[in-house]
C-alpha cells in the first residue's frame, strides 16, 4: 500500500514538473513569436558546409544540411573506432611486453594521454596542423603521393571502372572466407585436422579482387594529388579539421582501450598459459585458442563503452569547426531560432547511434559469453 502511494507521488511529481516546463516553454515561445514544429527543415539552409560526403550546396534544405552533419559524425566515429581499436590493442599488449623499454614507453603514453582533456588535445593538434605545418608549396612529403601541409593531408586515390570489380571481388571473398571458417571448424571437430584458413583467407582477399579486375579488362588508375597554383588538385583530401579531430579522438581513446585490453589479458589466469604450453601449443595458438577467447569476455563490455565514448566525443568537433551534426544544428538553430527542435534532433541522433552500438555489442557479448552447464 505504502509502495503504491510513494509511486503515485513520484509519478505526480515528475509529471507535474514536465507539465510545468512544457507550459512555460509554450508560453515563452508564443511571447517571442517562435513557431514550433519541424517545418523549417524543408526551407533553404543558405550556409555552406566545408565537408560534404553527399551533394550539398547553400541552396539545399536544412534537412539535407543536417544529413550531411550526421554523415560527417558517423564518418569520423567509424574511422576513429577502427583506428583506436588497432592502436589501443597494440599499446595494451606493449604494456605487458617482456621488453622493459617498450613497457615504459607505452605506460608513459597511456598516463599522459588519458590525463589531459580531449578538448585541449583537439585544440593542440589543430594548432599544430594549421599553425606550425608549412603551406602547400613547402608541403611535407613523407611518402610518394602523400602531402602534409596546413591545408590538411592529401592522399592518392584509385579511380576508374575497375573499382566496381574490386569491390565485387572483395565482397565475394568475404562471403567465401566466412563459409571457409565455418567449414574449417566443422572439419576440425570431425577429423581433428587443422585447416590453415588464415593463409587461405589472405590469398582469397588479395587474389579474387585482383583477378576479377584483370579479367574484366576495365581501367583502373591512380589519382595522385598535384600542386596547382596555391593548393592541391586531385586525390583525396583530409581537411585540417577532420585530421585534427580524428588524430585527437584516436590518440585519446587508444589510451583507454589499451588499459581495457591490458586488464583483459591480465585477467586470464597464468595457469591457462602454462597448461596450454604444456599441451605443446605454439605461442600463436595459445593466444588465439586459449587466452583471447577468455580475455574477450572481460574486454567486450568496457570496450563497448569506449566505442560509445568515441561517438559521443566526436561532438567536440564543434570546437574546431568540423561540420558534424552538432555544429550543423548549432548553425541551424542560430539562424532559425528553433532551439528545442534542434537540440531534440541532436539528442535523438546520438541516442539512436548509442543504442545501435550497444545492441550490436550486447549481441556480440552474448555470443562469446561463457556457456555454463
Amino acid at each position: 500500500m505504502r509502495a503504491i502511494i510513494y509511486q503515485v507521488i513520484a509519478l505526480l511529481a515528475v509529471g507535474s514538473a514536465i507539465w510545468f516546463l512544457i507550459h512555460n516553454t509554450l508560453n515563452n515561445l508564443s511571447a517571442r513569436n517562435i513557431s514550433t514544429g519541424f517545418g523549417f527543415l524543408s526551407k533553404e539552409a543558405g550556409f555552406a558546409i566545408g565537408e560534404t560526403p553527399i551533394e550539398y550546396s547553400p541552396a539545399s534544405t536544412y534537412a539535407r544540411a543536417i544529413t550531411v552533419g550526421l554523415l560527417n559524425t558517423l564518418r569520423v566515429a567509424l574511422i576513429g573506432i577502427v583506428l583506436a581499436t588497432i592502436l589501443g590493442t597494440i599499446i595494451g599488449i606493449a604494456r605487458l611486453s617482456r621488453n622493459w623499454l617498450i613497457r615504459k614507453i607505452s605506460s608513459i603514453y597511456v598516463e599522459v594521454m588519458r590525463n589531459i582533456p580531449l578538448l585541449l588535445q583537439l585544440f593542440f593538434w589543430y594548432a599544430i596542423i594549421s599553425e606550425t605545418l608549412p603551406g602547400p608549396r613547402q608541403a611535407m612529403h613523407p611518402l610518394p603521393g602523400v602531402f602534409v601541409s596546413n591545408r590538411g593531408i592529401q592522399m592518392p586515390t584509385v579511380q576508374g571502372e575497375g573499382l566496381f570489380w574490386l569491390f565485387v571481388g572483395l565482397a565475394v571473398a568475404l562471403v567465401l572466407i566466412f563459409g571457409l571458417f565455418k567449414w574449417a571448424r566443422k572439419n576440425q571437430e570431425k577429423t581433428g585436422q587443422i585447416f590453415p584458413s588464415g593463409r587461405w583467407s589472405i590469398a582469397l582477399l588479395l587474389l579474387l579482387p585482383a583477378g576479377l579486375w584483370f579479367f574484366s579488362g576495365t581501367s583502373l588508375s591512380l589519382d595522385v594529388p598535384e600542386l596547382k597554383g596555391f593548393n592541391f588538385a586531385g586525390g583525396m583530401t583530409l581537411s585540417p579539421e577532420f585530421a585534427a579531430l580524428l588524430l585527437g579522438l584516436v590518440i585519446y581513446t587508444a589510451a583507454f582501450i589499451a588499459e581495457v585490453v591490458r586488464s583483459g589479458i591480465q585477467s586470464v589466469n597464468r595457469g591457462q598459459w602454462e597448461a596450454a604450453e604444456a599441451l605443446g601449443l605454439k605461442r600463436s595458438h595459445v593466444l588465439r585458442l586459449i587466452v583471447l577467447p577468455q580475455a574477450l569476455r572481460v574486454i567486450v563490455p568496457p570496450m563497448t563503452s569506449q566505442y560509445l565514448n568515441i561517438t559521443k566525443n566526436s561532438s567536440l568537433a564543434v570546437a574546431i569547426g568540423y561540420p558534424d551534426i552538432v555544429s550543423v544544428i548549432n548553425t541551424t538553430l542560430n539562424q532559425t531560432g528553433q532551439a528545442i527542435e534542434g537540440i531534440m534532433m541532436i539528442m535523438a541522433a546520438y541516442l539512436t547511434v548509442s543504442l545501435s552500438i550497444s545492441v550490436f555489442m550486447n549481441w556480440y557479448n552474448k555470443r562469446i559469453a561463457l556457456v555454463e552447464r
Binding site: 513520484a10 617482456r98 598516463e111 585541449l120 559521443k312 567536440l316 570546437a319
Partner: protein, 367 residues
C-alpha cells in the same frame, strides 16, 4: 646428495653471473629474442631522434625572458615568455586585476580541501563540515560584497578557480543525486525504477555538449517569464545532471556486489528502508566503488573543459582568449602545453591516489 657436516656452515656462493647485474638485466629485458632486440633498437632510435629535439625545444633554446613577441620569434625553441606575459589572464580570466589575490586564495583553499579529503582520518562528519566551511569561504572571496571586499559578478570569474569550482560543486552535488538514482534503479517499485532507468540511460546516451547547449538555449525557455538563471549556474546544473547519471551507474555496481544476506539481515533487525541503506548497505557498497568513483571525478574534471563551447571562462577558454592577442600570435602550442600540464598534475595525482587507495582498501573482499 652430499651430506653437510653438522655444525659447519656451508660456504655461501654467489648467484651465477648470468642472472644478476646490468648485463643480465639487459639480456633478459631488452635482448631476450631477435624480435625483442629489434624492438629495443627501434625504440632507442625513436627516442634518440625525438627526446633531444624535444628537450631542446622545451628548455635549451626556449625563451623565458623576452618582453616582446618578436624577440621570441628569433629563438628556435618554445616561447615561454608568452606564458609569463599572459599567466594572469590564463589563470584568473577577466577577474579584476587588482583583486586577483582573492581567486588565488580560493584556488589554494579548494586544492587544500581536495588534498585533505584524501586523508582517511577525516572520512566522517568532519569532511562535510570542512567542505561546507571551505565552499562558503570560497564564495565569500570570489563574490565579495562583505567584509570590505568589493562585489565581483560571477560573469567575471574565470580561469583555474572556475574550473575547480565547476568540478568540485559538480561532484559534491551529483554524488547525493547519484545515490538516490542508483537506489531508485534497484527499487522494487516499478514506477520509480522506470523513472530512474529512463533518466540514467537518456543522459548517458547523449554527449555532455548537448546538455550544455540545452542549458544555454533551452533552460531560459523552460522557466516562467521574468525568472532568469545566470549562465554559469545553468552550466553547473548541466554538469551536475550529467555526472549524477554516471555516478548512479557506478554506485549501482557497488550495490549489486553486496550479498543478499546483508539486506535480509538488516531487514530482520527491524530497520526501516532508509536505515538499512544508511547503516548497512551504502557504507559497504560505497567502499567497493571508491576507486571507480575517483576515476569518475577525474573524467568530470576533464569534462568541465567543455564549457568552453558555450563561452564560459574556464581554464581552457581563458587560454583561448589569451591566444587572441594579435601581438602574440603563433604561440598556441606553448599555451596549450602549459594548460595541459595543469590538468595533468591534477588528474595524474588523483589517479595515483586512487591506485594506492585500491591497494589499501582491498581488505578481504578479494583473494
Amino acid at each position: 646428495m652430499s651430506a653437510a657436516t653438522p655444525g659447519v656452515a656451508i660456504s655461501t656462493e654467489k648467484a651465477p653471473k648470468s642472472s644478476v647485474g646490468v648485463l643480465a638485466w639487459m639480456h633478459g629485458q631488452l635482448f631476450s629474442s631477435p624480435i625483442n632486440s629489434l624492438l629495443t633498437i627501434l625504440s632507442v632510435w625513436l627516442l634518440l631522434v625525438s627526446v633531444p629535439a624535444m628537450i631542446d625545444w622545451l628548455f635549451l633554446s626556449s625563451n623565458l625572458s623576452a618582453t616582446t613577441a618578436d624577440q621570441c620569434r628569433e629563438s628556435t625553441g618554445a616561447c615561454w615568455a608568452m606564458i609569463v606575459e599572459k599567466h594572469r589572464i590564463i589563470l584568473f580570466g577577466l577577474y579584476p586585476y587588482d583583486e586577483q589575490w582573492r581567486p588565488l586564495i580560493a584556488t589554494f583553499l579548494l586544492v587544500g580541501a581536495i588534498i585533505l579529503s584524501g586523508w582517511r582520518v577525516l572520512w566522517n562528519m568532519w569532511l562535510l563540515v570542512m567542505w561546507t566551511v571551505v565552499l562558503a569561504t570560497v564564495a565569500v572571496f570570489m563574490w565579495g560584497g562583505v567584509f570590505g571586499l568589493t562585489y565581483v559578478e560571477n560573469s567575471q570569474w574565470g580561469g583555474l578557480p572556475l574550473t575547480l569550482i565547476l568540478s568540485t560543486f559538480g561532484i559534491a552535488l551529483a554524488f547525493p543525486l547519484g545515490i538516490v538514482l542508483a537506489l531508485g534503479r534497484r527499487s522494487d517499485m516499478p514506477a520509480i525504477k522506470a523513472i530512474c532507468v529512463v533518466y540514467i540511460e537518456l543522459v548517458r546516451g547523449v554527449p555532455l555538449i548537448s546538455l550544455l547547449f540545452m542549458s544555454a538555449v533551452m533552460l531560459p525557455l523552460f522557466l516562467p517569464e521574468g525568472m532568469n538563471i545566470d549562465k554559469l549556474l545553468r552550466a553547473q546544473i548541466a554538469i551536475i545532471l550529467f555526472a549524477a547519471a554516471y555516478m548512479a551507474e557506478t554506485i549501482r555496481g557497488g550495490l549489486q556486489a553486496i550479498p543478499k544476506g546483508q539486506f535480509e539481515g538488516a531487514e530482520s533487525l527491524g530497520l526501516s528502508y532508509w536505515q538499512q541503506m544508511r547503516l548497512i548497505v551504502l557504507p559497504q557498497a560505497l567502499k567497493i566503488v571508491i576507486p571507480p568513483l575517483v576515476g569518475l571525478f577525474i573524467a568530470l574534471f576533464k569534462d568541465t573543459s567543455l564549457v568552453v563551447i558555450i563561452g564560459i571562462f574556464d581554464l581552457t577558454q581563458a587560454a583561448k582568449v589569451a591566444l587572441t592577442d594579435q601581438a602574440w600570435r603563433g604561440f598556441s602550442v606553448e599555451v596549450y602545453i602549459f594548460i595541459s600540464a595543469i590538468y595533468f598534475v591534477f588528474c595524474y595525482s588523483m589517479s595515483k591516489y586512487s591506485q594506492s587507495l585500491e591497494k589499501r582498501l582491498a581488505t578481504g573482499h578479494e583473494r
